[in-house]
C-alpha cells in the first residue's frame, strides 16, 4: 500500500532527476561522472546550508537581543 502511494511520487522524482540531468548536460556524461558531480554539488550545497544556518542563527539572536525581545 505504501509503495503504491509512493509510485507516482517516485515517477515525479525521477522525471525531475531526468530534467536536472538534461539541464546540467550531465546526460551526456558517464554514470560515474554523475556520482562525482552529484557528490561535489551536494557537498557545496551542504556547506552553504550549514554556513547559512550558523550565521543566520547568530544574527537572528543578535537582532532579537538588540530589540530586547530575548535576553
Amino acid at each position: 500500500m505504501a509503495s503504491m502511494a509512493l509510485a507516482p511520487a517516485w515517477k515525479q522524482m525521477s522525471w525531475f532527476y531526468y530534467q536536472y540531468l538534461l539541464l546540467m548536460a550531465l546526460y551526456v556524461l558517464e554514470p560515474w561522472e554523475w556520482t562525482v558531480f552529484n557528490s561535489m554539488l551536494a557537498s557545496v550545497v551542504g556547506m552553504a546550508l550549514y554556513t547559512g544556518y550558523v550565521f543566520m542563527w547568530q544574527h537572528i539572536m543578535a537582532i532579537l537581543h538588540y530589540f530586547e525581545i530575548v535576553r
Partner: protein
C-alpha cells in the same frame, strides 16, 4: 495563397518587408488593401510579404546552455588529465613518443571539443542506412559498449523509420520504378563511368541534352553541369573572380562558397545574414573607397548569397538585393542548392518565388542533389558566361564529368517537373510540398517550439539549445522510429543547437501527424517548448461569426 497581383512590386523595387517575431501569421498578402485582380492573368504569383521569425529564447535557457557547456568543459579537462596521467586509456589520436616535444597537434579547442563532448553523443550522427532515402527508410542498428568510442552492428535493421532528415524535397529519390526505365536504358548504352574530364573526352550528348534542358527550365540562355555540387562552387568562383576583385558574402554561407571565395584570392567582406542595410553600407564603402591601399576601383564586386540557408531555414530577400546590385553595379551569384525545385509556384527556385526575371541575376548556381534525386551541380546564366566557364573552369579541366545514368535521372526529373510527359504530377508534387511545409510549420509553432526561418521554406530548424537535450531528442525520436538530423557546434553557433527537419512532398499527412505527435510528447518530456508566442488552444472569439464574447 492570395494574389497581390501588380507586377510593379516584383521587379526588384525595394518593397517593405516586415520581419515579424510572432510565430506564425496567416500569410495573407492583402496588406495594401487593393488587389489588382485584372493584372493576374499570365503574371506569376508574387510573394509580396516576407514572414520570417528568429525568436529569442527565454533567459534561463541560455543560462543553462552555457552552464551545461561549462560543466562539459570541466569534465573534459578532468578526463584529459586522467588520460595524460595514464589512469585512463586514451582512445583518440595522440602524438608519438618522439614527437612529444614538437608543437602540440591535438590541444586546440576543436580537438578538445571532439574528444570530450562530441564523442559522448556521437551515436546520433553517421547512422548507416540501408535503403533508398524515401519518406521511410531502414537504419542499421548499432550499439556501443564503451560509450561511443567503438560501435558494432547487431545485424538487425530498424525498418520503416520516417525520414525527416534527407534532402528529398520532391520525393524523387526513391527506389526503382517504371518511370525510371529510361535510366536503365541509358545504363545499358553508356555504362556508369565517363573516364574523362569535360575538356578531354568526357562531354557526352547526354550532357548537352541536360544542359539545354536546364537552361529551358530556368529560363536562361545557357547552362553547364558539373559532377559534384560542392566542386561547382569551389572550382568556379576562382574562375570568375580573382585578385583585385571584391566578394561580399553572407555570414552564413555554405563551406563550398567560402572555400571558393578563399581560393579565388579576392578580398572577402562579410555582411550580416540577409541584411540588405548592412550590404548597402558595404557596397557604398566599396564604391567610394575602392581597393585598400591604392584606392583604385575594384575590378569586380560579386555578391555571394544562397537561395535557402539550410541551417536557418531563411529565404533570401531577393528583391532588395537585386535593387542594390543594380544601383551599385555589382554582380550577383545565387547558390540555389536547397531552393531549386523546392520553392516557387512552379518549382524554379527563389527567382520564381519572388516572380522575378532570371535575366537580372548574373550567375545562377544550383545542385541536383536535393530536389532531383541525383548528384551534381550546374551554373546557368548568359551564354557568354557559360562559354567562358566551359573553357576556364577548373572543374571542366580536371574533374570527371557527370555520370550518364545520373544525367538521365536529372533529365527525367526536370521533364517530370515541367510536365513534359503530359501529366501534371510534377506541379502536384510542388504544391504538395508547399502544403506539407505550411502544415508542419504551423503545427510546430502552435505547439510552442521555437522554429526559425521563413514560413514557406521546407527546411525547418527547431531550436534545442542544450547539449543534453540534443542527444536525448535524437535518441528518443529514433526509439519512436523517426529519423532526424540534429546539429550542434561547429555547424551552428555554440549556444544554438537545433534539429533540422526537411519536409518532403512524399510525406503523407499520416506521416506528418505521427511525427508531430511524437514531437509533442518529446517536447513535453524534455521541456523544449520555449516559445513565448504559443497560440492558445482555445478558439479565438473573433473567429466566430456572431460577436458574443462568451466564457
Amino acid at each position: 495563397m492570395a494574389n497581390p497581383g501588380g507586377g510593379a512590386v516584383c521587379n526588384g523595387n525595394l518593397h517593405n518587408h516586415k520581419k515579424q517575431s510572432n510565430g506564425s501569421q496567416s500569410g495573407n498578402c492583402r496588406k495594401n488593401g487593393i488587389i489588382k485582380e485584372d493584372q493576374q492573368n499570365g503574371k506569376p504569383h508574387c510573394y509580396k510579404q516576407i514572414v520570417e521569425s528568429f525568436e529569442e529564447p527565454p533567459l534561463h535557457v541560455m543560462v543553462f546552455t552555457y552552464l551545461g557547456y561549462g560543466i562539459g568543459t570541466l569534465f573534459g579537462h578532468f578526463r584529459d588529465f586522467l588520460r595524460k596521467c595514464g589512469i585512463e586509456k586514451c582512445n583518440t589520436a595522440i602524438e608519438r613518443e618522439k614527437q612529444r616535444d614538437f608543437v602540440p597537434l591535438y590541444q586546440d579547442f576543436e580537438n578538445f571539443y571532439t574528444r570530450n563532448l562530441y564523442m559522448r553523443i556521437r551515436d546520433n550522427w553517421n547512422r548507416p542506412i540501408c535503403s533508398a532515402p524515401g519518406p521511410q527508410f531502414d537504419i542499421m542498428e548499432r550499439v556501443s559498449d564503451d560509450y561511443n568510442w567503438t560501435f558494432r552492428f547487431t545485424g538487425r535493421t530498424i525498418k520503416d523509420v520516417i525520414n525527416m532528415g534527407s534532402y528529398n524535397f520532391l520525393g524523387l529519390a526513391a527506389r526503382y520504378d517504371e518511370s525510371m526505365r529510361t535510366i536503365k536504358e541509358v545504363l545499358e548504352v553508356y555504362g556508369t563511368g565517363v573516364s574523362s574530364t569535360r575538356q578531354e573526352m568526357g562531354t557526352l550528348d547526354k550532357h548537352k541534352e541536360l544542359e539545354d534542358l536546364v537552361a529551358k527550365f530556368l529560363n536562361v540562355e545557357a547552362a553547364m553541369v558539373f559532377g559534384m555540387g560542392f566542386a561547382t562552387n569551389s572550382m568556379n568562383i576562382p574562375a570568375l573572380v580573382g585578385k583585385g576583385c571584391l566578394i561580399l558574402s553572407d555570414e552564413l554561407n555554405h563551406a563550398s562558397l567560402v572555400l571558393g571565395a578563399r581560393l579565388s584570392g579576392a578580398t572577402i567582406r562579410v555582411f550580416k545574414h540577409n541584411n540588405s542595410q548592412n550590404l548597402e553600407m558595404l557596397l557604398k564603402d566599396a564604391v567610394i573607397y575602392g581597393q585598400p591601399r591604392t584606392h583604385r576601383a575594384w575590378k569586380k564586386i560579386l555578391i555571394l548569397v544562397e537561395g535557402i540557408y539550410s541551417m536557418e531555414g531563411s529565404i533570401l530577400h531577393l528583391p532588395q538585393i537585386v535593387a542594390l546590385k543594380n544601383k551599385y553595379k555589382a554582380y550577383l551569384y545565387i547558390d540555389e542548392a536547397h531552393s531549386i525545385g523546392a520553392v516557387g509556384p512552379t518549382g524554379r527556385g527563389v527567382v520564381d518565388f519572388f516572380g522575378m526575371d532570371p535575366r537580372e541575376i548574373d550567375v545562377l548556381m544550383g545542385t541536383f542533389t536535393k530536389s532531383f534525386g541525383a548528384a551534381g551541380g550546374y551554373i546557368a546564366g548568359r551564354k557568354d558566361l557559360v562559354d567562358y566557364l566551359r573553357a576556364n573552369s577548373h572543374s571542366a579541366a580536371y574533374a570527371t564529368s557527370m555520370s550518364p545514368p545520373i544525367s538521365e535521372k536529372i533529365i527525367t526529373s526536370i521533364k517530370f517537373l515541367m510536365g513534359d510527359d503530359g501529366s501534371t504530377q510534377g506541379l502536384q508534387r510542388i504544391q504538395q510540398l508547399a502544403k506539407n511545409t505550411r502544415y508542419f510549420r504551423k503545427k510546430l509553432s502552435e505547439m510552442g517550439f521555437i522554429v526559425y526561418g521563413n514560413e514557406k521554406s521546407p527546411v525547418v530548424p527547431v531550436l534545442l539549445y542544450m547539449p543534453g537535450k540534443v542527444a536525448a531528442f535524437a535518441r528518443s525520436l529514433l526509439q519512436k522510429k523517426i529519423g532526424v538530423v540534429v546539429v550542434g557546434f561547429p555547424a551552428t553557433p555554440l549556444a544554438e543547437a537545433r534539429a533540422r527537419f526537411c519536409i518532403s512532398a512524399a510525406h503523407t499527412r499520416k506521416n506528418l501527424n505521427t511525427v508531430l505527435e511524437a514531437l509533442d510528447e518529446i517536447g513535453d518530456l524534455l521541456q523544449l517548448k520555449y516559445s513565448r508566442h504559443r497560440k492558445s488552444m482555445r478558439r479565438e472569439p473573433y473567429e466566430e461569426t456572431s460577436f458574443e464574447l462568451d466564457d
